[in-house]
Each structure stands twice: as structure tokens, then as C-alpha cells.
């Protein structure tokens, strides 16, 4: 890791997010989580009473709920909730121009390439630094169409009529221990509303950066695409590699009204000390589409199962996910597809790569209850093992009632075989190149689902992770 002070010139940006700036926080909730922590956050943010109540109720649920270790990894028990700080900010409002953003924060996002991407192909950007957004901007042409793109605090203050209607409705506070934790201390994240019929051409992007040690980031995102609207949202995440654990626990709720389409793209590249425990779910109304495109690289433990509740007829849910687990990492990911109306379709394609002693786990849930007809699910999950000690597990659960539906689930585990590497090397490729080509071949059809810029980034990140895995 690079400790930053003032001069960053001449430093090679090759391990992406592994650098840190000194903290200069005006607000710091201190270590541990109690009712005082919640009050502190509410006071700093000037939350309305209903949010204060919402948070306190959530805190109670969080404290009462046990860790889900009866099915999940015991590594969860190593999370020491008293050793994190739950809110850190410099007390500044998000800036509309990069020139106004404090120098260290600006440099952080420069290094991560955010302003450059914004210029090239984005309709709007929000950049969160620890607990609060440092920068938030939407292109004038997009906001003129009535699209709202702000952080969650601003969303609940300025657009309560839309915010309150959907907030916490897709993912109830008590869905799981970590959704309850997020509900108690959430800060940052995006609030997006796209008016009926508006199709936002370019993606909106959020970037979540953790800079401080022993810190928990709890952003909360709510996206509503009104009837016939379309939006693509992309998020990226990084943190420096600290000796101590870092916690990231987000809640993301998507609402796609009749005929709307939401695509949510994540390229996560957490450092390997991060516990990344995220709850993501969307509701798709009639003829709507909710699509999660999810790439998980890094972190110590990721538990993330994006879901879609297909509430209206002919709604469609999709999860496309790529996970790469290196030594010391456990990618526990999957998908939840709940069919709640006739003729709904869901599709899950998951590919995982286990490198070194890494472990990749797929968990899936597909539920097609009674009294429905014409529901379809297709699930494919493929795992690639690179080294002899790599590990992979698959635990899907599919429940279908009635003879008007079709589900199919296929999973496979394979290796890059020695003969495949030999063939490629006989054509002149080095062993590393042969492995990289093979791995990229394995994920190739999924990488195409990502926007071009992200697809390139994805391949680069995977190559970086694969380094030293052969020979």
C-alpha cells in the first residue's frame, strides 16, 4: 500500500486501489455501534424523525438477529462490530465540480480514473469517500429530462414523496442481519428517479471509496424507473489494504415500474481485508426488466445474492455474475429469483474462478409458487479451478409448483487442463499468457454483457489477479 501525502507523481498505478490519504474527519461517530451512534449520525445528517425511528428499530433488529452461520461461513464470527467506526465525514456538501473537491479526494478519484470516465461516457457521477459523497453531478441534458440523481440524504430531504414510498419496501429492514445494520447507520449511496418514458442513454455511475482504517461503509441506494423508463447504473468500489478488517455493507433497492428497465452493473475490487456483505434486490412490475451484472474481485469475504421479485406479468429478472476468488478470499455469491406473476422469466448465469487457495461459492434460490403459469427459469453456473488447492461449492435451491412452468439448472466444474496449456504454448504463448487466455475464454461470453469500458477493465483486473498463479 502507498501512504499518500502530497506528491503522487511518479507512482505507478498498478495495484489499483491500494493507497491511502491521511484522515481529516470533522465528524467521527467513534468505535462501536449503540443507540448513541445512531443519534450521532441522525444529528450530523439532520435526519427527519421518521428516519431516526426507522434507524433505531433497525438497530434493535440488528442486535437481536444471530449471525447466519447455520448456513454461511464461520468467518462471519470474526467480524468485531466494536472495532469499526460507523460514520466518518469531513462535513462538506458534495461538490458539483471536481475543482471544488478537496485535493486529496480529487486525487483519489483521479487515480481511479473517475473524472476521465465521466468525460468519456457517463451521464452522471457520484463519488463517495467514506460515509459521504464528495462529488455529485449529472449532465444538464439528463437532469432537464427530469431525472433525479442525488445521494440518499439529499433524496430523503428533497424528494420525500418518492423516497418514502419505496425506501425499505423492496428489502425489509429485518431481511437479514446486515440489511438491518445498514438500515441503522446508512449514509451515502444514490437516489435515482427516472420519470415515465425517459430512457437515459448513458450510464450513471457511483464510485465508493473507503479511505479510513477500521471503518464501515454503509451506503444505501434506491433507484426507481417509472413506467417505460430505462436506466443503467454502474458502481465501482475500492479500499486500501489495511492490517485490520474493513466492513462494507450496502443495501440496494431497485423498482422498475411497468415496462421499465434497470441495469445495475457492479465492478467490485475490494482489498483482501474487506468484509463485503451486501443486500441487493429489485422489484420488476409488468413487462419490466431488472438486470444485475455483477463482478466480484477481491475482498476477504463477499456475501451477495442479488435478487429480483417479478411482481408483474411478463416481468424479467436477470443476474449475470463473475467472481474471482484468490488465496485468502471467499466469494460467496449467487442469485434469488422470486416469480410472483404469470409468464415471468428469470435467467441466472454465474461464472467463478478460484485461484490459489481461493474459494468460490454459488448459492441460488428460484421460487415459482402455486397458481402461476408460464414461468421460466434458466440457471447456469460454471466454476473454473486454477490450482490444486482451489475450492468451489454450488448450492442452488429450485422450487417449482405446477405443470405450467419450466426450469433448468446446469452447473459444471472444470479445470484449465494441462493439454490445453500445452496446445497454446506450442503456438508460442508463455504459460502465463496461455492461462490468461484460457481464463478470459471462460468468462468471455459474460464479459460481453458489461459495457465496453468496464469489460476492458474487468479483463485487466482478472489478469492482475491471475499473476503468479501458474508455474
Amino acid at each position: 500500500m502507498v501512504i499518500e501525502n502530497s506528491d503522487i507523481s511518479g507512482i505507478k498505478v498498478d495495484n489499483v486501489g491500494d493507497f491511502v490519504f491521511p484522515e481529516r474527519n470533522k465528524y467521527d461517530s467513534g468505535f462501536g455501534i449503540t443507540e448513541q451512534t445512531v443519534d450521532y449520525i441522525c444529528d450530523v445528517k439532520g435526519d427527519p424523525d421518521w428516519i431516526r425511528e426507522f434507524r433505531k428499530k433497525a438497530l434493535k433488529i440488528f442486535q437481536d438477529k444471530p449471525m447466519p452461520t447455520h448456513w454461511a461461513t464461520k468467518d462471519l464470527e470474526n467480524i468485531k462490530f466494536d472495532e469499526f467506526r460507523y460514520y466518518l465525514s469531513d462535513g462538506q456538501k458534495p461538490k458539483r465540480s471536481w475543482d471544488e473537491v478537496p485535493e486529496d479526494v480529487k486525487r483519489t478519484f483521479d487515480r481511479l480514473g473517475i473524472p476521465e470516465q465521466e468525460r468519456k461516457f457517463l451521464a452522471g457521477v457520484e463519488a463517495q469517500y467514506d460515509s459521504e459523497a464528495a462529488y455529485s453531478n449529472i449532465k444538464a441534458a439528463v437532469s432537464e429530462q427530469g431525472v433525479i440523481f442525488v445521494n440518499s440524504t439529499e433524496g430523503l430531504h428533497k424528494h420525500p414523496e418518492i423516497f418514502r414510498k419505496w425506501f425499505g419496501k423492496v428489502i425489509p429492514t429485518g431481511d437479514n442481519k446486515f440489511s438491518a445494520l445498514n438500515s441503522a447507520v446508512f449514509s451515502g449511496g444514490s437516489f435515482i428517479y427516472v420519470p415515465p418514458g425517459v430512457k437515459v442513454k448513458h450510464p450513471l455511475q457511483a464510485y465508493f471509496r473507503i479511505n479510513s482504517e477500521q471503518f464501515g461503509q454503509f451506503e444505501r441506494t434506491l433507484i426507481i424507473a417509472d413506467e417505460g423508463a430505462e436506466i443503467m447504473y454502474m458502481e465501482g468500489c475500492t479500499a486500501p489494504k489495511f492490517e485490520t478488517a474493513t466492513l462494507h455493507s450496502a443495501v440496494v433497492e431497485l423498482v422498475a415500474m411497468k415496462g421499465a428497465k434497470i441495469q445495475y452493473v457492479t465492478v467490485q475490487n475490494w482489498s483482501s481485508n474487506v468484509f463485503n456483505l451486501v443486500t441487493k434486490r429489485g422489484i420488476a412490475h409488468e413487462d419490466a426488466v431488472v438486470k444485475w451484472i455483477d463482478c466480484n474481485i477481491g475482498s476477504r469475504l463477499t456475501m451477495k445474492y442479488p435478487g429480483v421479485i417479478m411482481k408483474g406479468k411478463r416481468a424479467r429478472g436477470e443476474v449475470i455474475s463473475i467472481a474471482l476468488a484468490n488465496s485468502g478470499q471467499h466469494q460467496d455469491t449467487g442469485a434469488k429469483m422470486v416469480h410472483a406473476a404469470d409468464d415471468t422469466t428469470s435467467n441466472v448465469i454465474s461464472k467463478s474462478i478460484s485461484v490459489g487457495e481461493g474459494r468460490a461459492t454459488y448459492r441460488g434460490l428460484v421460487h415459482i409458487p402455486k397458481h402461476l403459469k408460464g414461468c421460466k427459469n434458466n440457471t447456469e453456473c460454471d466454476a473454473l479451478l486454477i490450482n490444486p488447492n482451489s475450492r468451489t461449492d454450488t448450492y442452488p435451491a429450485i422450487s417449482v409448483r405446477g405443470n405450467k412452468h419450466a426450469t433448468q439448472h446446469e452447473a459444471s466444474v472444470s479445470q484449465v487442463s494441462a493439454d490445453q496449456i500445452f496446445y497454446l504454448m506450442q503456438r508460442g504463448l508463455s504459460e502465463g499468457e496461455a492461462m490468461s487466455l484460457s481464463v478470459n475464454g471462460f468468462i468471455n461470453d459474460l464479459a460481453k454483457e458489461f459495457p465496453m469500458e468496464y469489460s476492458v477493465e474487468l479483463k485487466r483486473l482478472i489478469d492482475l489477479e491471475m499473476e503468479g498463479s501458474v508455474g
Binding site: 497454446l424 506450442q426 503456438r427 508460442g428 499468457e433 478470459n440 468471455n444
Partner: protein, 252 residues
């Protein structure tokens, strides 16, 4: 300047298969090695290319004076040795075009890039010669290919990578006569005074279309008889046992 195999002993860890094989291929020459099943034909190609399942116990393989046996698989390939596989491996998800570009690029000095326009132009011209559909470029390497398509793809790679020496391992197996003619046309187009070929085959049929300068008979891990192209016809007519029965002298 030659591809020179000298007194090569090699095999699997528990079994010696090549037992003192000697053979020299000069640029411009086409040699055919024929032999019955189990004589060590496929072992020869894999040992030359450096497959890890096989161990060399003694002898040398030199390419223009460089000892190949000290080199890794990819280094041998870049030094100019090409192996057309008997069973070309499927590489899921990797397109033919990307694969060939990566292989071409590995032969360029560090940092140098492929001229993409020229690359595609060359590739299309050669695909046309092999009567390959353009859709081949975007299909994954050998995945879902028929036997004939796989062999044609091997020859396309040969044409694109332009090695100094090419070893064709049972390239004729599994080909119908039309496909065989196309493959042979590709190989013949690549014949040049600067390039040597080693054809490994069980059947004489291939040699009707690719005329060898020399024919060798491989038996029990050694070359037991060498001659001109007429030897192939004689073998076809009389069978491999004839070599033994005739008690013909060992080739040099």
C-alpha cells in the same frame, strides 16, 4: 541448418518408447515417418514439442543448432517449431482470431503491436485457400469443430505462424478425400526452400497429395528403414510386417 534428432531415447516415466531415434530434416525437405500403431509416432511429435508427460533420457533435438530439449514448450514454438496436433484441443471461449493474434504477438519484440489490418487480410486470404468460412474467426478455437474443420484449422495456424519446421502428426486421420485435398493444398503452398516438414502418418494416402522427399519407417522406437517416396507405396502394398520379414538393414 536443420532440424536434427540424434539418438533420442524418450518415453513415459515407466516405459521407454523412443529407443535411439535419429533423423535430420534440412530446410526445403519433406520427410515422412510411417509406422504401425504403437511404434512411437505420436510420442516423437510430443517429445519434440516438449509435452510434460514424456521424459527424455538421452539424445538431442536441435533446431538450427539450438538444443530444443532445454527449452520450454513456448520457446521451442517461437524458435520455429510447429506441431499440427493429431487431436487439436478445444479452447472454450477463445476466438480463433484472438488466439492467432496472441500467437503472432508472442513472436514480436516486447511492446510491438500487430498490424491488425494486415493480420486480417492475411488471415482471410489463407482461410479462402483452405475454403474456411469467415465465421471461423469468431468461433472458439476448435470448439464444436468437426474432425475436418479441426485439421484445417491446424493448417491455417501453420500458414499464419510460418514456422521454420513443421511437424504434422496424423493430419490425414479422420479426413475425407475432399478435406484431405484441401489440407494438402495448404501444406504444399507452404513448402519452400526455407522450411522443412515432418509428416507423421500411418497411411500412405496422405503422401499421394503431399509428395515426400524421404520416407522413414518407424518401428519399436527406431527408424528401421529409409528410402524415397516409392518406399511408402511398397509399405502400403506389403504392410509393416514386411519390414521385419525382409530383415532389411537398419537405416542410418
Amino acid at each position: 541448418m536443420s532440424l536434427k534428432i540424434t539418438d533420442l531415447h524418450a518415453g513415459l516415466p515407466d516405459r521407454e518408447i523412443l529407443k535411439g531415434l535419429t533423423l535430420e530434416i534440412n530446410p526445403g525437405e519433406v520427410h515422412a515417418v510411417m509406422g504401425p500403431n504403437g511404434s512411437g509416432k505420436s510420442t516423437l511429435s510430443k517429445v519434440m514439442a516438449g509435452h510434460e508427460d514424456y521424459a527424455v533420457t538421452s539424445g538431442t533435438v536441435e533446431l538450427d543448432g539450438i538444443n530444443l530439449l532445454d527449452m520450454a514448450v513456448d520457446a521451442r514454438a517461437r524458435a520455429g517449431l510447429f506441431l499440427a496436433f493429431q487431436y487439436p484441443h478445444e479452447i472454450p471461449g477463445v476466438s480463433n482470431a484472438n488466439f492467432l493474434r496472441a500467437a503472432k504477438k508472442s513472436r514480436l519484440p516486447e511492446g510491438e503491436e500487430i498490424d491488425a489490418i494486415k493480420f486480417y487480410k492475411d488471415m482471410y486470404a489463407r482461410m479462402d485457400a483452405l475454403e474456411m468460412d469467415r465465421s471461423f474467426t469468431s468461433r472458439s478455437v476448435n470448439e464444436g469443430f468437426s474432425g475436418g474443420e479441426k485439421k484445417r484449422n491446424e493448417i491455417l495456424q501453420l500458414m499464419m505462424l510460418e514456422p521454420k519446421y513443421a511437424v504434422l502428426d496424423e493430419t490425414d486421420s479422420g479426413l475425407d478425400i475432399d478435406a484431405l485435398k484441401i489440407v494438402a493444398r495448404g501444406v504444399n503452398a507452404m513448402r519452400s526452400p526455407d522450411r522443412g516438414f515432418l509428416l507423421i502418418t500411418h497411411y500412405q494416402r496422405l503422401l499421394n497429395y503431399i509428395q515426400p522427399d524421404f520416407v522413414h519407417v518407424l518401428k519399436e522406437g527406431r527408424i528401421v528403414l529409409s528410402g524415397g517416396k516409392e518406399l511408402a507405396l511398397e509399405l502400403e502394398a506389403k504392410g509393416y510386417d514386411w519390414v521385419k520379414e525382409e530383415g532389411l538393414p537398419l537405416a542410418a
